[in-house]
């Protein structure tokens, strides 16, 4: 296997990473290794000459992402080495275009060399640089070496002949589709895409038109009828004269990745809810503080006033006695006067009322927050429903505003809208992300200069679309930031403040609604986010 391999890892005095190069040497002398420690040099090398595979170490930090980008631009497969168990990192790497991921840990060297070998094998097969082996139907021509790799690789591999029948399937493909040994051979590929038009079956298009596909999401149907989401890549098979002989397709089960994606969504939701809860807790804590203090003071006031009352009772007792003893009455009246003075009853009576009024005002504030919370959590089935966008936006804004009312003026301009078909909970999550970002941008600017923070909300109906704009006068963003805000995990905020998932999640949620999310920004002036959502057809809900 002749191949060029580019390895990039940060330089280390005592390289634990020597193991990386060593592991890759297991691939044999025919694989040329080029080792780099500097990202810019590696990027230049990637551009300058052809590599069959690039291997990137996670310790490159941010350079990892830019190198992945480079690799993707050059259509070079990229294998990322990561820390064991860091699923978020793995997912991020896949999203950024990694074609494989190997974790450090036990059997690292073996895993790495196997993964690299698979990737190279895959590349070379797709590029057609090794004579195609299966069309001969004679496994004898397949040398043991490549056969071993193909049978053991983690991706499913299918070879399809000119008629659209499967002429070879590796064991991973058989497992993925839920059939026994050798049962796929000779079967029509269409069997695995029931109900699909020939047009939609990518490998058939490759057979017919010679089109290549790389990592396209496609749903396959297993033998037992269950559906599996897969990422599929297809390349035409050609003979020595360049005549089309069929296609080779490689696919990967995406179920696990989908599960990871769902977890990320959940994490993001928890993060926003956490922020919201902290803001609300804060706003409730102040009134709670003085209501609590006032109640315990009022208990003391009451004790003192009860002392006065006891003297009043005494005085009445003396006055009611028959015949009245003037001396005793005077005595009781003097005692009453002394107590009134000692406890400062005049003040107590006045302040009793004040303390109650202030406490009532506090409880009214708490009540208003609870009402906002209730409106915010209302109507929220996770199901598709008819949404009142103004109400969803307004209830979210009110609750988020609780935590920012000290520093931000909120202006609302809502136009009457038709009800829209969507997932109200998800839309609120998007609005919440936009509002929290706007607030944080204002805080950041306010830390540097005198600022009257302002967030403007606007909704309008434009034909069959609803347009929602959230505009702030916060710090704004330079173009480099603006270009990356929708990338998962991209954040300019401190650790613990931002996870960098808010906008990428929002982007996906809006996309799932068939809408768009866009941003405009100017450094030092502010930012405006624009959400466009199609109204959809209410009849769909029936």
């Amino acid at each position: 296997m002749n191949a060029r391999l580019l390895v990039v890892e940060p330089f280390e005095e005592r390289p634990a990473a020597a193991s990386t190069a060593e592991a890759l040497r297991l691939l044999g002398p025919a694989v040329a290794l080029e080792l780099h420690h500097e990202a810019p040099v590696a990027a230049a090398a990637l551009r300058a000459r052809h590599s069959d595979l690039v291997v990137l170490d996670h310790r490159l930090g941010d350079d990892l992402w830019s190198l992945l980008c480079r690799a993707r631009e050059g259509a070079t497969p990229a294998l990322v080495i990561g820390e064991a168990g860091d699923e978020a990192h793995a997912l991020r790497a896949f999203r950024a275009g990694a074609t494989g991921y190997v974790e450090r840990g036990p059997a690292f060297a073996e895993n790495l060399s196997t993964a690299a070998r698979e990737q190279l094998q895959w590349v070379q097969r797709i590029r057609g640089s090794i004579p195609s082996f299966v069309e001969e139907k004679n496994a004898g021509t397949l040398d043991r070496y490549s056969r071993n790799i193909i049978e053991n690789m983690n991706s499913a591999l299918l070879v399809i002949n000119r008629e659209g029948a499967i002429s070879y399937a590796n064991p991973t493909a058989e497992r993925a589709l839920g059939v026994g040994d050798g049962e796929l051979e000779g079967r029509d590929l269409r069997d695995w895409f029931p109900g699909a038009e020939a047009e939609e079956i990518l490998p058939l298009r490759t057979v017919k038109e010679g089109t290549r596909f790389r990592g396209v999401e496609t749903v396959l149907t297993r033998a037992d009828g269950t559906l599996i989401p897969t990422g599929i890549s297809c390349a035409p098979l050609v003979d020595a004269e360049g005549v089309g002989e069929g296609a080779v397709a490689i696919f990967q089960d995406l179920v696990e990745i989908k599960q990871l994606q769902r977890q990320v969504l959940q994490t993001e939701k928890m993060a926003s809810i956490g922020q919201l809860a902290a803001g609300v807790a804060h706003e409730i804590n102040n009134p709670m503080g003085f209501i609590h203090a006032n109640l315990s003071q009022l208990t003391e006031y009451l004790d003192d006033l009860q002392k006065v009352w006891a003297q009043v009772e005494g005085l009445r007792g003396a006055a009611d006695r028959d015949p009245a003893d003037a001396q005793q009455v005077r005595e009781a009246a003097r005692a009453l006067g002394a107590t009134i003075q000692a406890v400062d009853a005049g003040f107590l009576m006045r302040d009793f009322g004040t303390a109650i009024r202030e406490s009532l005002e506090g409880s009214e504030r708490i009540r208003a927050i609870v009402t906002d919370l209730r409106a915010f959590s209302h109507q929220d089935t996770a199901e598709r429903a008819l949404c009142d966008i103004n109400r969803a936006l307004d209830s979210t804004a009110n609750i988020v505003w609780t935590m920012m009312k000290h520093s931000v003026v909120l202006t609302k301009q809502y136009e009457e809208l038709a009800p829209m078909v969507g997932f109200p909970m998800q839309l609120k999550q998007v609005f919440m992300n936009l509002l929290v970002n706007a607030y944080q941008a204002i805080e950041e600017r306010a830390a540097r200069e005198e600022l009257r923070g302002e967030i403007r909300l606007r909704t309008e109906l434009q034909g069959e679309e609803v347009l929602i704009t959230v505009t702030d006068n916060g710090v704004g963003m330079p173009k480099e930031t603006l270009d990356r805000i929708f990338d998962p995990f991209f954040t300019t905020k401190e650790v613990g403040v931002g996870t960098g998932l808010g906008l990428s999640t929002s982007f996906n949620l809006i996309k799932n609604h068939g809408g768009t999310l866009r941003a405009q920004s100017e450094v030092g002036r502010g930012t405006s986010f624009e959400v466009r959502l199609p109204l959809g057809d209410p009849d769909e809900l029936l």
């Binding site: 807790a281 804590n285 003071q297 004040t354 005002e361």
Partner: protein
């Protein structure tokens, strides 16, 4: 007589908190000054001596910690108490930098408030 009473400066942006604090300290024999922001508090401190500062943490503009740190930088030795709903969120280093004598939770316990202030003044 009133000149000899210890002067306590209360700082909180929430005026009902100020009034609840004064209510609680009513019988403690202090002269109480209440202000609504760090800026106002600094102005008062420039005008007259005080014996104790009790400040809220979360206020618009300058937060309690920043305000008390500024007091510390000015070379003041006045004991100071920080009132906060989330005492555990304030790093020890910042507490030291601001020369804070005691932290009090919000909502506070009346008896704890009184005893903390007393020990700040005698200690």
């Amino acid at each position: 007589m009133s000149e000899t009473l210890p002067v306590v400066l209360l700082v909180d942006d929430e005026k009902h908190i100020l009034s609840a604090l004064s209510r609680c300290l009513r019988r403690e024999g202090y002269e109480i000054l209440s202000v609504g922001s760090a800026a106002e508090a600094l102005r008062v401190l420039g005008e007259r001596p005080v014996d104790l500062i009790v400040s809220d943490q979360k206020m618009p503009g300058t937060h309690g910690i920043a305000f008390l740190t500024e007091v510390e930088r000015g070379g003041s030795r006045v004991p100071r108490v920080l009132l906060t709903g989330w005492p555990e969120e304030i790093p020890q280093a910042e507490i030291e930098r601001a020369g804070i004598t005691a932290l009090l939770p919000k909502p506070w316990d009346d008896a704890e408030l009184k005893s903390t202030l007393r020990s700040c003044l005698t200690g």
